[in-house]
Every structure is written in structure tokens, then in C-alpha cells.
Amino acid sequence: MSRVLIVGEHANGKLNPSTAKCVTCASKIPGAQVTVALFGADTATVAGEAAKLSGVATVLRVDNAANSPALAAVLAPQIAALAAEYTHVFGPSTTFGKDLMPRVAALLGVTQISDIMAVEAPNRFRRPVYAGNAILTVECASARPVVATVRTASFEASAGGGSARVETRSLDVPLPRHTRFVALSSADGGRPDLQTARIVVSGGRALASAENFKLLYAIADKLGAAVGASRAAVDAGYAANDMQVGQTGKIIAPELYIAVGISGAIQHLTGIKDARTIVAINKDSEAPIFEIADYGLVGDLFSVLPELEKLLG
């Protein structure tokens, strides 16, 4: 039987939605028994949240002052110590999981499966390569634990209504002291989170300035949407790095994605392929974004955006 350990991501007393998506991925393994492990200084609140996720059998609390803020070098040996009891160890394909899970895999002496987008069998998965231009079907040959990251945009969040058992665990593992957290600066404007928002409005280089991004914010606020940006817009300094959508930024799957002044480089498209509906607004009718858009509007964003804002009332 498969026993899956999911490394839960959380911050400021809240479970990151990526955890619920990892649970859904794990549940695709027939008969899987799912455990969520939470590492932090005091994980009581987030453990309560994780215990409610449908499909989770057990929540493990590993409370230790050294586990907050989370550092890969500190968490990895603890996860490796827990791994002996499991057939699979999953983490989310967020920067938290991407940083951490390969370190766990190396300690366990296995190669990681990165970005699982579909489960075909307990040891067989599909994953994207070449910025999503090719999809591999891969099989883990070894009998050792499968260490993987889960492409969160490929899975719905597991529903609530569960009632998992919560256990506390103390691990006697030597922890390194060579890495120290200094600071985290966020450009959080009080808008919905890019990775979980139902609607995302994104701007590209054609916005031409940070000032002009206000046109997008105005529309986002009317729609209750998150705001994203293309790499070109972030590189140009129009938007913060945590707003970048694409191969090396965030991979998102909103109900509605509105791309404004984004030409649609393949690296950007790979970040939005799972959006339910894509709208493209661009003055270049030949822009590749129109190839994948459900609705395209050819026009100058500086006249389209104010009109859209007005019509949204």
C-alpha cells in the first residue's frame, strides 16, 4: 500500500493552498494513505486546518523553534528521517517546495520527480519539460521512496470536511546552523493571492511604466482579481518579481486570465495554460497570445482599459 508524506507549506499561521492540491495529487494514487507533516515553531493552528482536508489520514506536527522561518537545510534532514515510514514524499512546486524537496531527495539517495502534473500509477507520472513544450511519462525504477514536487496548477484543492488524526512528533536529528534567515519583503498590496485568485489580470511590457500598471489595478479591484505580470514587465521594473507569471515565475490556473499588452512568449504561456478562460488584449493582431486566447480583443490598451473599467461600473 502507498503511504504518502506531504510536506505542508504554511506561513503566518495559515496553510498555503498548495498543500490541499498536493493532497489531491496524492489521492490519485490508488489506496494511498496520506499524511501531512508540518514543520514550524508552533503548528497547532495550521495542523487544525490540515486535519480538515478531505483525504488526509494523519497530520504530523514537528514543532521546533529552529523550524521557523522554514529553511531547506534545516527541514531536509528531518523530512529524510521521517521518510523511512513512507513510499512517497511530496512537496508543492512552489519556491518553498522547489528549494526543499531536491535536498530531501539527495539525502535519501534518489532523483526527484519534478512538477507532477498527472498520476498514472503509484510509480508512473507525467511531467512537463522544455517550458511545457513536451510532456514526459516517467517511471520510478527504484523501490526507494518516490520524492516529488507537485505542479499545483494541475490539481484542484482537496475539499474540506475531513477529520484527520493530529500527532506531534519530535525528531532527534542534528540541525545545521550555517544558514540564517534575515528578512522577507513582500509587495503585497492587499489584493488576492496570485496563485489562488479566481481571476487574474496581467500586464506586459506594453504597459510602458509602473505608473500605468494602476490601470490594471483599477480593473483588478473591480473584479476582485489578483494582478500578475510578464517577465518583460518585471525586468523593466514595472511590477514586483513576485508578480511574474510563467516558466520561471508562477504557474497559475485561474478561472479567468486577462492578459493585457502581453505578446505571449512561450515561457509566459506555460504559466497560464491551465487557466479555464484566457482573454487577450493586444494591439498586435499577430501576437502569439491570440493563438491560445478564448477571447481576443485587438486594440490599444490605453483606450481599452479605461473603457473596461467604466463598463464594469
Partner: protein, 250 residues
Amino acid sequence: MSKIMVCVKRVVDYNVRVRVKPDASGVVTDGVKMSINPFDEIALEEALRIRERGAASEVLAVSIGPADTQQQLRTALAMGADRAILVQNDAPVEPLTAARAFLKLIERENPSIVILGKQAIDDDNNQTGQMVAALWNRPQATFASKVELDGNLARVTREVDAGLETLEVELPAVITSDLRLNEPRYVKLPDIMKAKKKPLDTVTLADLGVAPTTDVKVLRTDPPPQRQKGVIVKTVEELLEALRKKGLVS
């Protein structure tokens, strides 16, 4: 003075539109332009800048791949690396194998910083740097957008989902580069000529005592599912009407 080791990978050039072979056996690489993985090029540029500031004495470029990978190492030497080592291996290696080979080179060379791209744009694995740090039992600072050195410490700003995180790590350490760390320099013709005389050594996995792992077998390679082409609307009103009809906008 300290040494910086940069790991570079030979990959299909980022401008190439990758095509999947009809028999699902992989992607077309015959006759396709190959380059240094762009993230590794950024890592190399950072190493060169550190040396040019006087905070390191030598930049060593290393790679693992087929004999043709010498081309990418020559490019690294032309950019300014002092010497290069190729771990020659014709078959592609898994990240764990690459990490084990790099660890052997680390043990020989004793670098104070190992820097490489956060991911390679072919397999998009995003594993090797973290694995090297784990096997070496040293700090990792991944997805770096800024690196400041202060004695035996590195203060690294990282691009994370929540914004920018700053870590302080004791050296030696592994750093993986994100896109905005720097803009790599262009290679000038005289530098290409000079690079031909710089030392480039070749070793094999067997020389290093590393057996390649085969944890993950690729069964097939398929093109991604295509989205249906949509409709072009003429006006903002028409767009809003369509979105309202689908219940996406109130």
C-alpha cells in the same frame, strides 16, 4: 584567495522551438543549436563579477555531458572563466548523478562558492544545486537575485513566491541563480581566440568513482495538449457580454 566553481549545462538553445518526435521517443535535437543553459550563463557572469571585484582569485567552469560539451566550456572560458573541466559522459545523466560528480570535483578543488543556474531549460528539473548542497552538507541559497559577500558570509536575496527573501549563509555554500541576478556579458572575438589556450581537462564518471543512477525511466515524450483557438471580439462591450454569459464576470 578563494575559488568559485560554476556548473554549466549544454542545452537546446532557448530560441529553438522544440519539437517532439513523432514516435514519442524524445524531442528533436539533431542539427539543433546548442548553448549554455541561460541560468548557468547568469551564474558564470556572477562568478566573473565577484572575481573582478577582487573577492575571488579563480573561476572554474565545470560541466557534464558528451564530448561536444567542450563547445559550451570554451564559451565559458571566452566569457572569462580561468579553466574548465568536462566530465565526459555520452548519455544524459540524472540530477543526482550530476550532483555526485560535482561533489567529487568540489572535493578536489575546494571552492568557497559553487554557483549554477536554478534550473536547466531542457528538463526543467530545478534539482542539481540543492542536491550538491545536500551531499556536501553545506548551505544553499537558491533562486538568487542578489549576492553580497562579507568575509566568510554570503548574504543572498532570493526570489520567492511571497516576495524577496534574504538569507545569510556561511561559506562554502551553493548558490543558484535566478533571471534577474545580472545580465551576462557578450563574448568578444579576441576572447574566443584567447579561450582556445586556456586549460580544459576531461575526466569520466568512472575516473571520479561515480556510478550513474537510473532512478527515473522516461517511457514516452508527447506534445502538450493544445488549447482550442478562440474568437476575436470587436469591442469591449462584446468581450464583457461574453464573459458575463459564462458567469465569469458579474
